[in-house]
Structures are given as C-alpha cells and as structure tokens.
C-alpha cells in the first residue's frame, strides 16, 4: 500500500472515530435538577481521533512492509501434533501439581485461596460447557441456568429437608440434568443459531422465575444462611454445639477462618478433577466420539446409525449436570445466593472461557478461566474500567487467536496404540 493510500485510509478511520466519539465522548450529560446540563470533553475526542489516525497509519505502513516478506506455511505436521500432545500433557500435570500445593505456598493468603477457588469454579463450569459447545458443537448461551438450578436445589434441599452437602450434590446434578433434558427435548432439533437464542431465553426465564417466585426462592433477596459442608462431620466454626467437636479442636489447631477456605479450595479441586477425569474419559468412549462426529457432520452421523437427538440430549444433560455440581458448590461456598449471580454475563463468561481456551481442549479451559477471572481482579482498583477492559480483551484475544489458546485437537484413539493381535 502506497503511503498516500495509507494516509487516505487513516483519514477515513479518523473520520469515523470522530463520528463515534463526538456525541458520546465529547459531551457529558450532567444531572442538574430537572433538566440535564452538559459538559464538554472535546480534548478527549481530539485525543481519540489522533490516536486512531496515527495508529491506523502505523498499522498500514507496517503491514505493507510485512506483506512483501515470504509467509511461512502454517500447516501442522502430524509429528508436530504428537509433540503438542506431549507438551499439553506436561502442562496438564504441571498445572495439576501446582493446584495441589497452592494452599501450602507461603504467598497463599485468604485472597489467593479465594481467587483460586473462584478460578476452579469457572474451570469446572468451562469443562461442563465444553461437552456441549466444544465437543457436540451445540451453541448454548444459557448455561448459567443449570448453574442456578444446582445452586438453588442445594440451598432449598438443605434448608427444607435438612440434607447435607454430600447428599445434595448428586441430587443437584440430577436436577440440572433433568432441566437440561426438559429444555433439550423440544429444541435440539433446531438449527444451531436458533438453539442459541432459545437457550439464551431459557437462561433468562430461569432468572426471572427465581426473581419473582418469592415464596419459594426468596425472590430478589435470595436465600441466606445456606449450610456449609463439614469435614467428615467436623464443622469449621469457632465453637461446636454441646458434645461435638469442630475442625480445629479435633486437630488441635488454632482457630482460623483460613481452614474453611482451604477446605473449600480442595473440595472444588476434587470436583474439578472428577469432572476432568469424566469428560476426558467420555471423549474416548463411543458417546464422546459421537458428540464430536455430530459437530463435524450430522447427516453422516445419521447414516451411520447414530440417533442425533439422543446424542445431543446426552451432551446437554451431562453438561448441565456438571453445571449443577458447580452450582451447589457455589451455594455452599457463598452461604448466600440470589438471582443476581446468574445473569447472562455469567453464561457469556463461561462460553468465552470455552472458546478462548480452544474448543474441546481441557488445558485451554484452565488457561482461559485463569485469564478471565484474574483479569477483572488485576483491574480491581480501576472499578469503572474493569468490565470495559474485560469486554475489550474478549474481542482482542479472539482476533489474536481465533481458534483459542490451544487450537489443536488430540485424537481420541491412535492405531499405533493398538498392537496387532498375535496371528
């Protein structure tokens, strides 16, 4: 591109930037009683326009130079794929090991353990949604609904029937799976994007119902004093009721609120490991291969005797049940839940974790969950910019790596691993 063209192109970009910025950035409305007053920020507009002009110019001139350089072939060789799988495996073990010893590290204070727990909840949700979106290729924009079902079923079962966490956990998963089937049965025949909008609507419906059915769900105030799980019957409180012992008494430790946090951390770690194990296993079973095949070509699947609706339904139900498990953990960790925790932004975040991680990749989900949870934490001081940066980062990461952090897929089976039976 010649410099003259570049200048013209940059000028157009700057002009659009001017139109975009002029009213929204340049004029600020101020509340002054009955009528809105105005306040000007034309210097900001000038800065934005100048940045866009110069930035565009630089990009164009730089790109013009790069286009002349020969491009490298981008195909991954099979051997490279094998290496990648190996690195992925090492990375996975490294992350696992780090997760196991994290609470024992010297820097692991309340804040670190709490944030790590938060990351693990999203990892688990990401792995659950990965079954639906990454493997089966079904676009679910309302995954948070199952998370909510899990959280509320734990809270309600515990409060109304006095069941403990371990009794509620499988029930919450079952309820979530049931809701998955309930939603999936009528809509799974729909084409991809219709499915997206119906699931999105379903997520909103669940939230609205939770918000308005006050006698059952507590409405917008939510449910409070949800029982905490105990460590084999030992409570994590300062003092135990008559005749019982607390965790710190039993082990002869100084009472510390960190005990419960660390316990919670290991609890979600175990749940996450279980999820990872189950999903990794299923991927290598016929059901998992059928999910992936469905993503690749539904018609070919049908011609091979695969029941499309049933296969999608299992993906939906299993993905939902993991959401349910994560939900009950969330409820017991917070001790308080309200519909506000289950908005569309949660669904979007979980979906972003799956897609940013690389569809179908478990390690990718861990990386993406870490990035997306830590990003707002890092920018916590800039409360106003926080979500802005979050949204912008989603756009930029997608443009930077459209296939996600880990885009290569590891085959579920290799002929090399099966020796020819002795003839």
């Amino acid at each position: 591109m010649s410099p003259l063209h570049a200048v013209r192109d940059a000028a157009i970009a700057a002009f659009v930037a001017l139109a975009v910025a002029l009213p929204i950035v340049g004029v600020r409305t101020v509340d002054t009683g009955a009528v809105l007053g105005v306040d000007f920020r034309l210097d900001w507009v000038a800065a934005i326009v100048a940045t866009v002009f110069l930035g565009r110019l630089c990009v164009l001139l730089w790109m013009g130079r790069r286009e002349r350089a020969p491009r490298q072939a981008g195909m991954l060789e099979t051997t490279a794929l094998g290496w990648l799988a190996l690195i992925g495996r090492f990375l996975a073990y490294g992350i696992m090991g780090f997760a196991l010893i994290l609470p024992m590290m010297s820097f692991a204070d309340r804040y670190v353990v709490d944030t790590a727990t938060q990351v693990l909840i999203y990892v688990m949700l990401g792995w659950g949604l990965n079954v639906v979106v990454g493997l089966a290729g079904l676009l679910d924009l309302g995954y948070v609904a199952f998370y909510a079902v899990g959280a509320y079923s734990y809270a309600l079962l515990a409060q109304n029937f006095g069941l403990n966490f371990w009794q509620c956990l499988p029930l919450a998963g079952l309820f979530a799976a049931f809701f998955g089937i309930l939603l999936g049965f009528p809509v799974l025949r729909l084409r991809g994007d219709y499915l997206a909008i119906v699931t999105l609507g379903f997520g909103e419906m669940i939230r609205i119902i939770l918000n308005n059915w006050a006698s059952f769900t507590g409405g917008p105030n939510g449910l409070t004093s949800i029982p905490r799980p105990s460590f084999f019957g030992l409570e994590f409180s300062r003092s135990a009721p008559e005749g019982e012992q607390t965790f710190h008494q039993f082990f002869g430790l100084e009472y510390s609120t960190l005990h419960r946090l660390v316990f919670m951390y290991y609890l979600i770690l175990i749940l996450a490991f279980l999820t990872s194990w189950a999903v990794g296993r299923m991927r290598k079973l016929p059901v998992g291969r059928a999910w992936e095949a469905l993503r690749e070509d539904e018609i070919a699947c049908q011609s091979l005797g695969i029941n499309r609706t049933m296969t999608k339904l299992t993906a939906f139900a299993i993905g939902a049940s993991f959401g349910g498990f994560a939900g009950s953990f969330f409820a017991t960790r917070q001790g308080f839940i309200s519909p506000e925790s289950f908005t569309f932004i949660e669904s979007a975040t979980i979906l972003a974790i799956v897609v940013l991680g690389g569809m179908g990749s478990q390690v990718g989900v861990v990386l993406a969950a870490t990035v997306l949870v830590l990003l707002p934490e890092v920018f916590r001081d800039l409360a106003h910019y926080r979500m802005m940066v979050f949204g912008l980062a989603m756009v930029l990461i997608m443009i930077w790596r459209p296939k996600g952090f880990i885009g290569a897929r590891v085959p579920s089976i290799r002929l090399a691993d099966f020796r020819r039976p002795a003839a």
């Binding site: 930037a17 139109a19 975009v20 600020r28 409305t29 084409r191 219709y194 308005n212 802005m388 997608m398």
Partner: protein
C-alpha cells in the same frame, strides 16, 4: 374490549420499535450468518445520542418541539451508523472466515465493552428525557368511562416505521446495493467472483442496520422519557427473538416478529402478570420454533444430503 384495544395500540408501538431493531439482526444474519450481539448496544447508544443532543440543544436555548425531535432523529443517524461501521470493522471483519463461534464471542465482548463504555462516559444513573410531544387524542370512550388514548408520539413511531419499511424495501429491491446485498446472501463466493465488493456490502449492511437501530433508540427515548445504559441488552434480546420468530433472514419477517412480540408483551402484562412478560415472550418463541422451526416467514429448509 376498549381495554384490549388500548393495550394493542401500546403493544404495536413497542413492536414497531422491536421490529426496527430486529431488521438489523436479520440482515446481518442473512449476509454473514452471525448473531450481531452488539446490535442491542447500538440501539442503546441511539437513545443516549438523543439524550445528549436534546440536552445540548436545550443548553443552547432550543426547547424540545416537533421540529427539534425530527432534527435530533436525523442527526443521530450518522452517529449510530458510524458505530455500526466501526464495530464491524474492528471486531468482526478480522474474524471473517474463521470458525463459527469466534465472531460471536467477539460480538459478546463488544457488547460488554460498549455497555460499560457508555456507563463510564455518561454515568450509571437513569437519564431523563424531556417530554417533547405531549398529549394525544381519544380514539373511543367506553360506557364505563374507560377511554382509548392514542398518543401523538405513538403515531410518530408507527408512521416513521412504515416510512422506513417502505424505504428499506425499495432499497433492497431497486438499488444496486440491494442487489449486491441479496447476491451476497445467496452465495458470497460467487458474488465475489462476479466483482461485487463483498466487504463493502457487508459494511453497508451493518451501517443500515445500525441506522435503523439508532432511529429506534431515539424514538424509544422520546417515548419512555428515560434512558439507561443497560437498556440495550433486553431490547436486543427481544429484537433477536423477533427476528427468529419472523424467520431469520427475512426483513418483513423481522417486522412481523417485532409486532407480535410487542403485542404479546403488552397483552400479557395487561391480562396476566407484568413480571412474567418476558417468560411469555420466550415461551411463544419456543412453541413457534417447535412447530415451525424456520420461523413464520422463513423459507422451509430441506436438509441437503
């Protein structure tokens, strides 16, 4: 009966607005097959531009009047169009040709970004919009004393929608842009081979959709007299529902879907419960999709084997 009529009038006004937003969804979907999640934010930005321009004009000594309303409406169009163009250029065009979910995630990110940008720039409080065109006329009066009112603004909204629909239909059917747009919808590769500038056509589609959403945003600001940075999400969601209900890819379908959603919402709120109006809307969507999976005016699709 009078009560029903009143609610139907309110519902149709609301529906016309949903329809205008839905057209943007349906056209973008028709041409590049993606859900433009940030479209609802463009509508919200249209509302904010109305607030800003009215405040600006007020500060310069022009109190709101019919003429001012129309001037603001026209002035908002280039601004929201610029947003539409910029969103496409920044967040979607670099991802063209990559896999299906990448632009969707980018769009969701864009939507979150714009929402918080507006909150940051203009504040999180509700913004009041001065009443510009008060009053209306009484359409009929029941024996019980209940009167069916039509506000002047409702007439403006519906008239504007009709004018835009006629203009849009002419644009799509008669102009070279319309032909290029329809060609890209059918087969983008072939259109490119025939010398159509596909990138420009897609960009224009976004601009057109954004202009309509902006107009809808301005009119809603006048109609409800209040604007909030979070308004775009739910309106966008319902407009997309309208587009799917009408049959995605079909412009008349989008308008029909919008009107239906508006009616359902108004009537459900009037006769049942206002809290569950959105549940009703989505339930109707699910029912329609089960019995007519391609929407009301969508072409039935035979699975190609």
């Amino acid at each position: 009966m009078e009560y029903f009529l009143q609610q139907a009038i309110n519902g149709l006004t609301l529906g016309a607005v949903y329809g205008l937003i839905a057209i943007g969804y349906t056209m973008v979907y028709g041409i590049i097959g993606m859900i433009n999640f940030a479209h609802g934010e463009v509508y919200m930005i249209g509302s904010f531009i109305a607030v800003i321009l009215l405040a600006l004009l007020g500060a310069w000594g022009f109190p709101p009047s019919l003429a001012i309303l129309l001037i603001v409406l026209l002035a908002a169009i280039p601004f929201t169009s610029a947003f539409g163009w910029a969103i496409e250029r920044v967040a979607y065009r670099p991802l063209r040709g990559s896999f299906r979910l990448a632009p969707l995630i980018s769009a969701i990110g864009m939507s979150i970004f714009l929402q918080n940008l507006v909150q940051f720039l203009q504040g999180a409080r509700n913004k009041p919009v001065p009443t510009a065109l008060p009053g209306g006329f009484t359409l009929m009066e029941a024996a019980s004393g209940f009167t069916v009112q039509v506000r002047w603004l409702q007439i403006v909204v519906v008239a504007m929608t009709v004018i835009l629909m006629v203009g849009l239909t002419l644009l799509i059917q008669r102009t070279s842009f319309g032909r290029a747009q329809r060609a890209c919808e059918q087969d983008m590769k072939m259109a490119m081979l025939l010398g159509i500038d596909v990138n420009a056509t897609i960009a224009r589609t976004f601009v057109l959709g954004a202009a309509l959403a902006g107009i809808a945003g301005v009119m809603v600001a006048y109609y409800y007299n209040v604007v909030h940075f979070y308004d775009g999400f739910l309106a966008g969601l319902k407009a997309f529902t309208a587009a799917v209900l009408g049959g995605i890819g079909s412009v008349p379908g989008a308008m029909l879907g919008g009107l239906l959603i508006g009616l359902i919402e108004a009537l459900w709120s009037a006769y049942f419960s206002i809290e569950y109006k959105d549940v009703a809307v989505f339930s109707v969507l699910v029912l329609v999709l089960i019995f007519r999976p391609t929407g009301i005016l969508g072409r039935p699709e035979i699975e190609k084997v």
